[in-house]
């Protein structure tokens, strides 16, 4: 059995630690990161595993209710992050960059289908075209086109020739001025046509677009979803376990056992100053406000933090972005949750799901489906509704990897 040395042996144990860690096998090192905002002078604690070799003390010292078995591993049991899982999943075994096969991911992914286009929403451009009335001119015309500078990539998603009866119409260019035509072929004047500006990805869109001009059909490949590396999957695994622990902690204080967690993105863990994540729990009981759900609370926390850091930036007389860089967006870089992944113990209710859509979240990962009240596949599935202006992916955690009956909610609760 090996022990974590250095900092690792200094952190005390807590059942509700404010630190988590990832093991980087490529450098034989352990990276410790905070799991929530840490107050000044607050002690940094780690979870030492389910079977402690000492008597726990303090309010957080109560042993976890689930029967965890210590794993003998090369990190002295450290990788048994929280005692909730019985064995380490397969994605803890390889290098951080290795892609995890879909079926080994601890969650199922649901990607909303591409928004179906309508005749009104198809994007179009104006292009020059010319009718070629004589069939014997088609060959020379094609040759001329190949020699000419007009083989523009802007039109690569469209068929070059449209046949209607005996007349073939050639698509020429999207340039604003009419192109010059070959002198040795007798042709009428070119004219402007409205054509789609992108390929058709669904059969419906193909029909609609081809009514304007014959369009190339390129359906999205089935496997066109982002790969999850082992490192990122471990990050997600920890994030969900951290959320579960937070929910249990607040259940013991009389709240509904629901937590929402937006960790610092996996891609930013190596950044010079990683921002810690944001964690919130359901507070509708303690503040007697039926809408203080975990998701609403975490969104508010992030917004307040962003507003606060803007105020601080102004105080510190950091030049406003408008002066420093004219290209910079004027209000932060993004919407609140752009490119962020939110982890939550329960499928968010319709209100919370729409709040996440308004905030442009990238992905929502939840543990317990709420079939009668949820807005991410339960009562309805908001990111798939026609018309909404943002789509996010949904990941449903596989229940067998986290058995936690303490989080069960009545089916009528809005999480």
């Amino acid at each position: 059995m090996a022990l974590a040395l250095g900092l690792g042996s200094l952190f005390n144990h807590s059942n509700f630690p404010n630190l988590s860690y990832t093991i980087d096998a490529s450098t034989d090192s352990i990276r410790y990161s905070t799991t929530r905002n840490v107050e000044p002078d607050e002690e940094l604690c780690l979870y030492h595993g389910g079977n402690l070799w000492f008597e726990p003390v303090g309010p957080n010292g109560a042993r976890p209710s689930s029967g965890a078995q210590e794993n003998e591993d090369s990190w002295g049991g450290l990788s048994n992050v929280d005692g909730l899982q019985d064995s380490r999943p397969i994605f803890f075994n390889g290098s951080v960059d290795e892609v995890v096969p879909e079926e080994e991911l601890p969650f199922e992914r649901f990607k909303p289908p591409p928004e179906e286009e309508t005749l009104e929403t198809i994007r179009t451009v104006q292009a020059w075209a010319v009718d070629v009335p004589e069939p014997q001119s088609i060959g020379p015309m094609l040759k001329w086109l190949r020699r000419s500078e007009l083989d523009a990539s802007e039109l690569g998603h469209l068929k070059r020739v449209r046949k209607q009866g005996d007349t073939s119409t050639f698509l020429l260019t999207v340039s604003p001025l009419p192109p010059s035509l070959p002198e040795d072929i007798s042709l009428p004047e070119p004219f402007l046509v409205t054509v789609p500006s992108s390929v058709a990805v669904t059969p419906t869109s193909l029909t609609l677009k081809s009514s304007l001009w014959p369009t190339v059909y390129a359906p999205r490949r089935k496997g066109e979803v982002e790969d999850w590396s082992q490192g990122k999957t471990r990050w997600a695994w920890e994030a969900m376990h951290v959320a579960v622990k937070e929910a249990l902690r607040w259940r013991d204080k009389g709240e509904l056992p629901i937590a929402a967690y937006v960790p610092a993105p996996y891609e930013e863990l190596d950044a010079a100053s990683p921002s810690s994540g944001f964690m919130a729990h359901d507070t509708r009981q303690s503040v007697a406000h039926p809408l203080r759900h975990a998701v609403m609370n975490v969104i508010r926390q992030i917004a307040d933090d962003r507003a606060h850091s803007e105020v601080e930036a102004v105080k510190a007389q950091i030049p406003a972005s408008a002066d420093a860089d004219d290209d910079a967006p004027r209000n932060g870089t993004n919407y609140l949750l752009t490119s962020q992944i939110l982890f939550t113990t329960h499928e968010p209710c319709i209100m919370c799901s729409m709040a996440l859509l308004h905030s442009r979240v990238k992905e929502v990962v939840y543990l317990f489906p709420m079939e009668k009240t949820g807005g991410c596949g339960g009562a309805t599935c908001l990111p798939t509704l026609p018309g909404v202006n943002h789509r996010f992916s949904i990941c449903r955690w596989k229940g067998e990897t986290i058995q936690e009956d303490g989080l069960r909610l009545d089916a009528s609760v809005d999480a």
Partner: protein, 172 residues
Amino acid sequence: MAEAMNMAEEALAAGEVPVGCVFVRGQNIIAKARNRTNELRNATRHAELEAIDEILGDPVLTPPGTGRYPLSETTLYVTVEPCIMCASALRQMGIKEVFYGCANDRFGGCGGVIGVNDSIEHPSHPPYTAAGGYSREEAILILRRFYVTENSNAPAPKSKANRVLKTEILPP
């Protein structure tokens, strides 16, 4: 509805998407609010949720021991159809009924996109009626007055130099 429109005007003056609302209990306006999404950097701070916070924060309006549905005797007047988020929030609060100005075909939660108020089933919250068309033209015009100008608070403002204010309003 005229008071709700005043709140929308206040939002417009503050550079916010101009949506305003009032909550009425008995004959009295008990709360009024407007959109504060830009000011609070939070796309969820819609007028309805702002007003609900005000009502719940006031022990006179929401005395301790209020039942599960604090708005069961309260009517909402709002210039634009509540979005899906607010429509769900209102149902969770047990709102009595809702009157709104114009429909919202991008976000509307009272039939615009989805009927969270009555057509989606909920295991415990009663449905509520939501009726639109009150001061509809005014509600549309004030939104257009906002959208012809650039929303400089949007993360990636679009240039709208070529936009002109349309005044023709088609029937719903």
